[in-house]
Chain length 146, copies 2
């Protein structure tokens, strides 16, 4: 069977693109906020916008599983970005609170993220971005068909 080398497929390109974007974004975040990771930044942003999110919901938003999210929140608590507290309504869950230190960092994030996004999308029209999204979603749909 003749199989195209993995490096010649569109999947390879998708993967290398997201990895390069992540490296690029991480580099710029590290410059301004040493010790913070891209994903920790995302968690802060999501929690800021939606304070009632559970760990599970955040995990889904950043494409991690619950186990990873538990450990990630652990390190964010250790780093004092977050505090866990009881959720009286549902005692299986926690309330996740951004600490004042976390809020300080959070303030510095948006301009960095904005710059990362616009720099990496430079010269790519809105139309192209929509095309990209549309095609990617087709792939996702295909992958979900059991």
């Amino acid at each position: 069977m003749i199989l195209a080398l993995p490096s010649e497929t569109v999947f390879h390109t998708i993967e290398s693109t997201i990895k390069q974007y992540r490296k690029f974004a991480q580099k710029n975040i590290t410059k301004a906020l040493p010790g913070m990771t891209v994903d920790q930044g995302l968690v802060l942003i999501f929690l800021h916008e939606h304070p009632e999110l559970t760990q599970k919901e955040i995990a889904q938003l950043v494409f991690k599983d619950n186990a990873s999210m538990t450990r990630m929140i652990n390190t964010m608590v250790k780093k004092k970005y977050l505090k866990r507290s009881m959720n009286e309504k549902d005692r299986r869950r926690y309330k996740l609170k951004i600490t004042p230190e976390g809020k300080e960092l959070l303030k510095k994030l948006p301009p960095i993220i904005q710059k990362n996004r616009s720099a990496s999308l430079e010269g790519i029209s809105k139309k192209e971005q929509d095309q990209l999204t549309k095609i990617l979603i087709k792939i996702q749909t295909n992958c979900q068909k059991s």
Copy 2:
């Protein structure tokens, strides 16, 4: 500063697409070859096509760093897919040989991979795939600037 939520960006879509594809591909590989991972399969395929590849070169092909590759090859040796042997020409490197067991698995991989690819690209024209690649490469180029 008003920042689009990460979940509304094209980066989010790129990341979720590749993760879903990986899950889909892994599921099908596991079904046929329990214990084998997508990346281990890729390493076998690359080594089969280019037996002289060094660990470092393979690492680049599958987007891992050298440290990860060392450990990945360790587990592939432990699983008896591969054997390390001396490279007399350059004693910093190894020769990586696919074992007979590894070759057996390798034979079964191509049809599975082919099926994964075509299933996830179903209904996506060649033209769309080219568009996708073109746009992604633009993003990569942007991320490489400085």
